[in-house]
């Protein structure tokens, strides 16, 4: 029998506010119009929630979820770093609709037994979706709690059967300047496409997640539709969005930020308050949403509080050198 040890940061299922409560709260706020409409249509028990996206079928994964309060949907979908659509925090929510995500396919290549071009549906079909409420810590010293829906990265990787030479997994975002205005900029220092990578053992860690949804529905484009990585113990830029390529590699790939500013951003990018960044102190973070008069500062935790799951990956490594 397999008895799972409950990590300290997890909470019993009963304590996690059910997702329906958020939906309800939201619905309540959309006000009388929606409820009046619902009441006037016979047989329609609940008012449809007005968020875009397709409703997903998933199971909660409380053992991987924090009990902290998720940021409101609007905060998660209007405050984004997705430089393919501009560097302003609101640019992605304004312009990401210019990207077409259906149909979508992911090219799998490199050191594995099952390379090829996978339609998104084919890549995901065998897996049961889970909801995981993770903390996301940006290197800019802010953070949010986000209820993702998706599948463990390890499950997908196992099906692709990497061989013994696969020491790293490399990911690429869509490169489509005609759909992504940020890529058309003359003065961008990013060499598109956006690239990220993980060491194989990091990718196989139970926390590594491929998200396809948010708050129970498919991802809005600005959050990295239709499929994105979520590695919650690393700074947000590691969680690459709108993935079109997965490559298993022998050598350590270079990530986009490493290419631009190697002295600021390393390959590992683990959340670590002890390692200073040349721009932002990493000791504290603003947990969003934050207020003007009462900024919501909290102390940043090593590995974003997921040390129990991941600290073992870095045993013996000097994390101030491998930042």
């Amino acid at each position: 029998m397999f008895i799972k040890q409950r990590p300290s940061w997890s909470v019993p299922e009963s304590e996690v506010t059910p997702e329906s409560v958020y939906l309800n709260r939201r619905k309540f706020m959309t006000g009388a119009i929606a409820s009046a409409a619902a009441l006037s249509i016979p047989g329609l028990v609940r008012a449809e929630d007005t968020r875009p996206g397709t409703v997903l079928d998933y199971k909660a994964a409380p053992q991987f979820s924090t009990d902290e309060k998720p940021a409101p949907y609007d905060a998660i979908t209007t405050y984004n770093n997705f430089y393919e659509f501009g560097t302003g925090k609101q640019d992605p929510s304004r312009y990401a609709s210019e990207m077409s995500v259906d149909p979508w396919s992911v090219e799998v290549e490199g050191e594995c037994a099952n390379p090829g071009k996978y339609a998104l549906e084919g890549l995901l079909k065998p897996h049961q979706y889970q909801e995981r409420i993770y903390r996301l810590r940006c290197v800019e010293a802010w953070s949010m709690v986000i209820p993702w829906v998706g599948v463990p990265l390890a499950e997908v990787i196992k099906r692709l059967e990497p061989n013994s030479d696969a020491k790293f997994v490399y990911f690429e975002t869509l490169n489509a300047p005609e759909q992504m205005r940020g890529q058309r900029s003359l003065f961008s220092t990013i060499d598109w496409p956006y690239r990220e990578g993980l060491r194989m053992d990091e990718a196989m860690n139970e926390l590594s997640f491929l998200a396809v949804g948010l708050y129970g529905k498919t991802l809005p484009n600005q959050n990295g539709a239709p499929i994105r990585l979520v590695v919650p113990w690393k700074y947000g830029f590691k969680s690459i969005k709108s993935i079109v390529r997965i490559r298993f590699m022998k050598e350590q790939p270079k990530s986009s930020w490493e290419m631009i500013a190697p002295s600021e951003y390393g390959f590992y990018a683990n959340v670590n308050p002890e390692v200073d960044h040349p721009r932002w102190s990493q000791k504290m973070e603003r947990r969003l949403p934050s207020g003007v008069f009462r900024p919501n500062w909290i102390e940043t935790e090593k590995f974003n509080g997921y040390g129990e799951q991941v600290a073992g990956l870095y045993k013996g490594m000097d994390l101030s050198r491998y930042y």
Partner: protein
């Protein structure tokens, strides 16, 4: 006599207009704060808006002399001090917003010694302080022949503010390039009209 009076009123009306315009960025910000319209991270938005207002006003202040030269109307000069003081006002608010809303007055030493973009911003701000202090008529008299060379500190201040802006860029520098073109334009016309030495602070010419 009559025309002197209308001129005086015109001057006051012009000053009120410029004053009102210069307050607009603050007005928009306050309205956004009241309406909770700044998104989930208001401290960051406020800090950025004040920083860009300070920098833009600095550039407008620098544009006054060229405007006078191009239009042949010396009335522009009337607004220069006010614009410069507004630039300083926004820079001071920008610094305060950063300390209060982003930093929470924590980690001050590391912030001001280890972060290149902050050091550039702080240097720009420090260069603006003596200009604000010596902007009154009385201080103008007291500083006498030193006033003009002292006030050339506005050039390094503007350049440092731009460097500060550039160094906080993550990846895309389109905006910084646009401002670089404007700033370079303003400096180059001055150098051409009045000689390079007219740009050197603290040098009496």
């Amino acid at each position: 006599m009559a025309s002197a009076v209308t001129n005086k009123w015109r001057g006051i009306a012009g000053k009120c207009l410029v004053f009102g315009l210069a307050l607009l960025p603050l007005g928009f910000l306050v309205a956004d704060i009241i309406n909770a319209n700044l998104g989930p991270d208001p401290g960051q938005v406020i800090t950025e808006a004040l920083g860009i207002a300070a920098f833009q006003l600095l550039l407008v202040t620098l544009a006054i002399t060229p405007l006078k030269k191009v239009t042949g109307w010396s009335g522009w000069l009337r607004y220069r001090r006010m614009l410069g003081l507004f630039a300083f006002f926004y820079a001071a608010l920008h610094l305060l917003a950063f300390l209060q809303l982003i930093l929470g007055w924590m980690d001050l030493w590391a912030t001001f010694t280890k972060r290149p973009y902050i050091i550039a911003g702080a240097a720009a701000f420090l260069a603006m302080v003596p200009l604000a202090i010596t902007s009154t008529r009385r201080m103008m008299k007291r500083t006498g022949r030193w006033w003009k060379p002292l006030h050339r500190l506005i050039y390094p201040a503007a350049i440092l503010a731009w460097v500060h802006f550039l160094w906080q860029a993550r990846s895309d520098i389109t905006e910084m390039v646009v401002y670089a073109v404007i700033l370079a334009g303003l400096l180059v016309v001055r150098a051409r009209w009045f000689g390079v030495s007219s740009l050197v602070p603290l040098k009496r010419t």
